[in-house]
């Protein structure tokens, strides 16, 4: 609908311009064109008045268009922020928006009004007005004061958002790769993320989890969804394994680049569970989504990860149900150093661990048959 209105608007504007232009040139034939003979302003043609009026008309239509389109399209703006800091940044966004909108309307109105009002009139002499220091000072100082206000509010919010995460924050690692997001949780036993090393990356161990670190034994991963608890600080440990990516959670007002070789972080506190958001928006299909905002190649536009925000009990239940990476991929027990094997064993499925004991014996017996035994 809007597109039809838009196209029609353009067509009408173009037609108006053409009709007025035509009228002007017709009038030119009738009117004595004294402007052409005068030496002063000899290049002033009879479209000058039209252009002067058009400036003003353009602005009036624009004001209507700006207000109407804002009211119309605001429906599809993002809903209220679903995180603590997001509510803060949203507030300051709209405050700044109000300030600049005043500037936008006042300055443009003056520009187009003056263009219309002071259009060429024969015999009028422009006012010779080369400078006025008082005015200059006024309009240097006023923007400076407004800027200062915005800077200090911005600084405060920025410092709070970027401050170190609280110690009790829920830690989730998120890694970008071409083309998808993967998440890793520190596990339920030690609640610590194990080390990683990009050189250990392979088709299964996409994170390059270092199994020489015992903290990694209970880490579990996902490439389809991220779960986080509501009302609790969540610290995202962000990294990328191939090119730059950028974690963007629109509803949470979260964004931070994922940089290969330089882990980054962002912490925030969700204020709304997925279910609450669904109820509020009246959309049972609704999901929080994580997108990529740093161009990363062909499928940059398709790096989507579902984000599920739930109450802490459900979240903890979900966490306990997840199988650690080691349990999912028992082959990797091989990478665990001998002194930690016993500890790692308990993460393996039962039959696997029995097999492994056998394999272990064979291995110590001098055979290289561990791999075979596992299979």
């Amino acid at each position: 609908m809007a597109i039809i209105i838009g196209i029609l608007a353009i067509v009408f504007i173009v037609m108006t311009v053409m009709v007025l232009g035509k009228t002007q040139s017709l009038l030119k034939g009738i009117r004595p064109t004294d402007s052409e003979t005068s030496s002063e302003g000899e290049y002033v043609d009879d479209a000058n008045n039209f252009n002067g009026y058009a400036m003003f008309v353009f602005w009036v239509i624009s004001v209507v268009g700006v207000v109407w389109s804002f009211l119309y399209y605001r429906e599809d703006f993002l809903p209220e922020a679903a995180s603590v800091h997001g509510k803060e940044t949203d507030y300051w966004f709209w405050v700044s928006m109000a300030v600049i909108m005043v500037g936008f309307f006042v300055v443009n109105s003056l520009l187009f009004f003056f263009a219309y009002k002071y259009r060429f009139k024969k015999g009028r002499v422009a006012t010779f007005y080369p400078h006025n220091n008082k005015l200059e000072v006024i309009w240097t100082v006023i923007p400076a004061i407004i800027m200062a206000g915005l800077v200090f509010s911005g600084l405060k919010v920025w410092t709070d958002v970027m401050a170190d995460a609280p110690a009790d924050a829920e830690v989730v690692e998120i890694m970008g790769k071409q083309f998808g997001w993967q998440v890793r949780y520190p596990g339920v036993d030690d609640n610590k993320l194990g080390k990683y090393n990009f050189k250990l990356t392979d088709a299964t161990n996409e994170f390059g989890i270092d199994l020489a670190d015992e903290n990694s034994f209970d880490d579990f991963t996902s490439n389809t969804e991220m779960h986080i608890p509501v009302g609790k600080p969540v610290l995202l440990k962000i990294r990328a394994r191939d090119v730059l990516h950028s974690v963007f959670i629109p509803h949470m007002r979260v964004k931070m680049d994922a940089v290969p070789g330089m882990p980054t972080k962002f912490w925030f506190t969700p204020t709304q569970t997925t279910d609450q958001a669904r109820a509020e928006l009246g959309n049972p299909e609704f999901d929080f989504e994580i997108a990529c905002t740093e161009v990363c190649g062909r499928s940059h536009f398709a790096m989507k990860l579902r984000l599920i925000v739930e109450d802490e009990a459900t979240y903890n239940k979900w966490k306990r149900e997840q199988k650690p990476f080691l349990a999912m991929n028992p082959d990797y027990i091989e990478k665990v150093p001998a002194n930690l094997k016993a500890k790692a064993m308990k993460y393996l499925p039962v039959e696997e661990s029995t097999n492994l004991v056998v394999a272990e014996d064979e291995a110590t017996a001098g055979g290289a048959g561990t791999q075979a035994a596992l299979k």
Partner: protein, 626 residues
């Protein structure tokens, strides 16, 4: 006034002054004449603008009508349009990224740097300061031909099999360094880097020449406080370029090393295409710092000349002195200085230390102050003027509106806390397209309409100019204004399509609308180009001073070799004596001495009559060859 007309009358007396006839090649191709070089830059810039504009139409079609059958583009785009079993043509996502990348590169560097500065700095500096030519005609010629070579390399890169560079115009590594990560990072990226290296050489040769010329070759009496604001703007622009482009060169060079010689300046801990790369210890953030150290001054390299042109056009056509001449100079100087210390506002959420973010937010928001001063001064110049809407004037007013509307959203984006959400969304796209895309192109068009008579000795058709202006102005706002809404809704940049995300699955109608408006705005340029080409050959013959303007270039009719047939005029006054009280005419050119205008002199100007003798006593340095 009498003196001017007398001066103009004997234009054709300069035939015997000519040294010798130049061959066609030396006159039109490998020319050392600043006016010819300016025209070469202008025409190259226009050709590039057409290419860059058409590219935007293709990716706008993809964004506005994601289900559109693009099979009709197959004859032009070849392998980049794949035809499905049902015969529906789809644009390749890699090529979409390449188009976005090339559109940015072409518009920023080839159109709005070379096409804008190259044209008007070259054309106007000697003519407005009263010099026979640039300090070094030869270096000036080299500057154009390095640009031409750069253009050729970039043009060729569009046609290579793996496609042109496709990692965005900012070419952030590792994406731009790894051919495994993106086909455009193969030979296409190599050619991109070579083209940019050549471009930087060209830009430096040009910039050094502009600054040298302005400092050394000003005519008698043309002290710095009498320079037109155009010249101030071009000088500041050249200084920005000289200091900033070498840093981009170093970034490009290090990237070339990383790509081809196995170094690790920007690469670290990368696993791509099934294997871990040996590179360790590099930092992709380092590249971003180097890139934006040029990248941010670059946007002022683009907008300052446009603002300079606007100052001149608005003063002339308001028939009023520019308001706050000195404030304009100081604000441009302030912008130039601040331009160097705000670059990291492009990097608030790249993982850079948040403390740096605070510092750069502070510095960035300061730059709004001199920018605001400029906008207010333009508007006050219109106040109580006697405004003549030449096409140039319309475009200049359009520029002021864009500069204000687009500049204001910069206040939001420069605030690091608010930038978290808006970074790399369409809000940013809207912001910079209005403030430095549309505004700068409007400055360029204003310049073309205003100085066309001096460039080609003929007038452009004004009626077509008006139609061109209104169509372009309205459609540009219709393209870029709605993008703010899309940005507030969080839509990310450089997305091939959005419908994969429920969050971004709205605004299909608005995106289609933008595409339609974009097509109209590009199509409207046909009016300009036909007017431009037609007028070069068939336009009405232009008088020496068609706009009754004050600056020196209007004192020479059809400037030939050496610009002025006789002696170069001497300058006695500032360039903005329009509508001076008690003057019989509403403009007094710079070469009219105060002694011949006693009726309109202000008290302190009467005192300056005594200095005129001093100015006239100055001898030209004859050792500088004409």
């Amino acid at each position: 006034m009498a003196a001017v007309t007398a001066h103009v009358a004997d234009v054709h007396a300069h035939e015997e002054h000519e040294h010798h006839e130049l061959s066609f090649v030396r006159k039109y191709i490998f020319s050392e004449d600043h006016k010819t070089i300016a025209k070469q830059y202008l025409i190259s810039g226009i050709i590039w603008a057409v290419i860059g504009g058409l590219m935007s139409v293709v990716f706008r079609l993809q964004l506005g009508f994601p289900n559109l059958d693009m099979a009709w583009l197959k004859p032009i785009l070849g392998q980049w349009v794949s035809i499905s079993a049902e015969g529906v043509g789809k644009l390749d996502p890699n090529f979409y990224l390449a188009l976005v990348t090339m559109h940015g590169t072409i518009m920023v560097f080839f159109v709005l740097t070379a096409g804008l500065s190259g044209t008007f700095s070259n054309f106007l500096i000697p003519l407005q300061i009263g010099a026979r030519d640039m300090a070094s005609g030869f270096i000036n010629m080299l500057s154009y031909w390095f640009f031409f070579l750069s253009s050729m390399v970039m043009f060729v890169s569009i046609f290579v099999e793996t496609g042109p560079a496709g990692g965005g115009w900012v070419v952030y590594p590792p994406l731009s360094a790894l051919a495994d990560a993106n086909p455009g990072s193969g030979i296409g990226m190599t050619l991109w880097l070579v083209a940019m290296a050549l471009f930087i050489v060209s830009s430096l040769l040009g910039g050094i020449n502009y600054v040298t010329t302005v400092i050394n070759l000003r005519t008698r009496g043309m002290s710095f406080d009498k320079l037109p604001l155009t010249i101030w703007a071009f000088t500041f622009t050249a200084i920005l370029g000289i200091l900033a482009f070498p840093v981009l060169f170093s970034a490009a060079l290090l990237l070339i090393f990383d790509r081809s010689f196995g170094t690790s300046f920007f690469l670290s801990e990368i696993y791509v295409n099934g294997q871990a790369l040996p590179n360790q210890g590099g930092s992709p953030i380092l590249f971003q710092h180097l890139f934006w150290f040029l990248g941010h001054p670059e946007v002022y390299i683009i907008i300052l000349p446009a603002l300079g042109i606007t100052s001149e056009v608005i003063a002339t056509n308001s028939r009023k002195p520019i308001f706050g001449y000195k404030a304009m100079i100081f604000s441009m100087a302030g912008i130039m200085f601040l331009a160097f210390i705000v670059w990291a506002h492009h990097m608030f959420v790249t993982g850079m230390n948040p403390f740096l973010g605070s510092v750069f937010m502070l510095l960035t928001l300061i730059i709004a102050v001199p920018s605001a001063v400029k906008a207010f001064n333009y508007i006050t110049t219109l106040w109580r003027g006697n405004i003549v809407f030449t096409p140039a004037m319309l475009f200049a007013i359009g520029l002021v509106s864009f500069f204000v509307s687009g500049g204001l959203t910069g206040i939001i984006l420069g605030n690091s806390a608010l930038d978290i959400q808006l970074h790399d969304t369409y809000f940013v796209v809207a912001h910079f397209h209005i403030v430095m895309g549309a505004a700068a192109i409007f400055g360029m068009l204003a310049g073309v309409y205003h100085w066309f008579p001096k460039m080609f000795g003929r007038m452009m058709n004004a009626k077509m100019g008006y139609a061109h202006f209104w169509l372009t102005f309205i459609s540009s706002y219709l393209v870029f204004f709605p993008m703010h809404y899309i940005g507030i809704a969080g839509f990310p940049r450089r997305y091939y399509q959005w419908s994969g995300f429920a969050t971004f699955d709205s605004y299909a109608d608005l995106n289609a609308f933008i595409t339609v408006a974009a097509i109209i705005s590009v199509a409207a340029q046909a009016i300009f180009i036909s007017n431009f080409v037609y007028s070069i050959f068939k336009g009405k013959k232009a008088p020496a001073n068609p706009w009754n303007s004050n600056t020196l270039e209007w004192t020479t009719d059809n400037p030939g070799h050496g610009n002025w047939p006789g002696e170069i005029p001497t300058v006695y006054r500032w360039p903005y004596d329009y509508s001076k009280p008690n003057s019989a005419v509403d403009f007094i050119p710079q070469n009219i001495p105060y002694s011949s205008t006693p009726e309109s002199n202000l008290p302190h100007e009467n005192e300056m009559i005594a200095d005129e003798k001093e100015i006239e006593k100055l001898e030209f340095d004859r050792s500088i060859p004409d």
